[in-house]
Amino acid sequence: MKHLLSAADLSLDEVTGILDLAEEMSQVQSRPVKKLPALRGRTVVNLFFEDSTRTRSSFELAGKWLSADVINVSAKGSSVSKGESLRDTVLTVAAMGVDALVIRHMASGAPQQAAQWVDAHVLNAGDGTHEHPTQALLDAFSMRRHFRASDPDFDWRDKTVAVVGDLTHSRVVRSNVLLLRTLGARVVLVAPPTLLPSGVQSWPAEVSTDLDEVLGSADVVMMLRVQRERMSGGYFPTAREYTVGYGLTRDRLARLKPGAAICHPGPMNRGLEISADAADSAASLVLDQVASGVAVRMSVLYHLLGGDDEGGTR
C-alpha cells in the first residue's frame, strides 16, 4: 500500500490484515512500555486544515507508539491562515523530507490531490463530505470484536449494519459503505429524504427513509452526527422533529434486535440523533470505537510505512 485515500482502495485481504494487526497493537496500550520500534526514523506529519480532536490525537499517538517522529500542523497558526494554497503547504511540508502526510481537509478530494504532488505516503484523515477510511476501519474493528464476543466464527455476510442520519454531509458513511461491502455485510442507509445524498441509489447499499422499519433487523445501528456546521438549514423542520423520526430514542433502544450494538463516530449530539440512554447503554460501542482508534491507526501506519518505500506487502 502506498496511500490510504479511500476505503475502496482496500482488498478484503488488506482489510483483514489491518484489523488483525490492530488487534495485536491494542495489546501495546496495556504494556508498561507503550512503544514499538517499527517506524523509528520515520517522520509523519499531521496536516489538519479542519478541527479535530480524536482523529488527530489518535494519529499522533499511533505514530509515536511506533517510534515515528510526529509533528502536527494545523491551519490555525500556520501559513495557511496567511493565504498559502493547499499545494504550496503540502509541497513545503513534503520538502522537509517527511515519510507520510496525514491530511484532514474540508474540501473533498484534497488528499487525492496531495498524493499526486508528493512522493510521501498520504493518508486521508477525512476530506470534506467524501471519505474517512480510518474511521470506517475502526468501526469495522469495533463491530468485529462485538460480533466475535458472541460468535468467534461469525460471518460478515450474516450481518446487517444500519447507518442512520445525516448521510449527505457525512464522510464516514461513504467509507463505511465501501468497507462493509468489501467485508460482505448488508448495509441499510436510513435518512430523511432531504439528507439522502444524490446518487445514493448507485451505492452498494439499500436505502430507507423509515428507521422503525429497519430497526428490528440491524445487528449494528450506526448513528451519524447531525452536522449543523455544514448545514445552511432547511434539511429538516426542527431538531425535535428530526429526533422523533430518526433519533435513537429510549423507545427505539428498547426495540433493537437482541444483541445489537450501537456505534457513533462522535462527537455526539446527545438528545438530537442519540439519546443519553442509548449512548450510555451496554449496547453502545462508542468508547470502544475511540479506544480502537489508536490501534487501528498504528496498524495502518505500519502497513504503509513498515517496509521499504515501495509500500508493497510481503
Binding site: 500500500m1 490484515g17 494487526l21 495485536e24 495489546q27 504494556r31 508498561p32 512500555v33 512503544k35 514499538l36 520500534p37 517499527a38 511506533l66 505500519y302 502497513h303 504503509l304 513498515g306 517496509g307 521499504d308 515501495e310 509500500g311 508493497g312 506487502t313 510481503r314
Partner: protein
Amino acid sequence: MNAEEINRSLARIAHQVLEANHGARDLMVLGIPTRGVPLAARLARLMGEVEGHPVPTGQLDVTMYRDDLRSQPTRPVGRTVLPGDVDGAVVVLVDDVLYSGRTVVAALDALHDLGRPAAIRLAVLVDRGHRQVPVRADHVGKNLPTASHERVQVRLAETDDVDAVAILRDTPADTGVGTEGTR
C-alpha cells in the same frame, strides 16, 4: 534430522533447561514465530512431564524489532502471547534455526520492552553458524555446519505435517518454509 532425532534433541534440551534452572521455577518458554512456537510448546510439555506440573508457554513476535524492516516490503506481524508477567521470570526463547543471530537480538529488544526477566536463555533446534552478531545459544539441538549459500529447512508436524530438518544445497525460489537463511 528425522522425527525421532528431533524428539530426542528436544527431550535433552528440556532436561538441560530444567537442570540449569534447578527445576521449573519461574520458567517461561516463549517461541519466536513461526516455527519457534510449536517447538516452545513441545519443550514446555516435555518439561511439564518431567516436573509433574505445567510450564507456562507463549510466543513472542519480533517483527517490529527487526533491523531489516526497511529493506523489504512490509512484513506481516505475528502475535505475541504471554502466559504471565515477564518481570522476574526466567525466559527461555525458542527458535528453530540460529543463523545470523539478528532474530535473537530483535527478540531481546522485544523482551526488554515487555519487562525485566530475571534471566533470558536461548534454545534452538539447529545452529547452522555464520553469526553476524555476538550471540550464542544456551541449548542447541544439533550443530549443523553449513555454507552460507545453503539453506536449512525445518519442517514441523504442527505447521508442515512432518518433522524433518534438511539442508537444501541449491537455492530455488523461496518456498517460505522455515529457512532462517533467507531472512
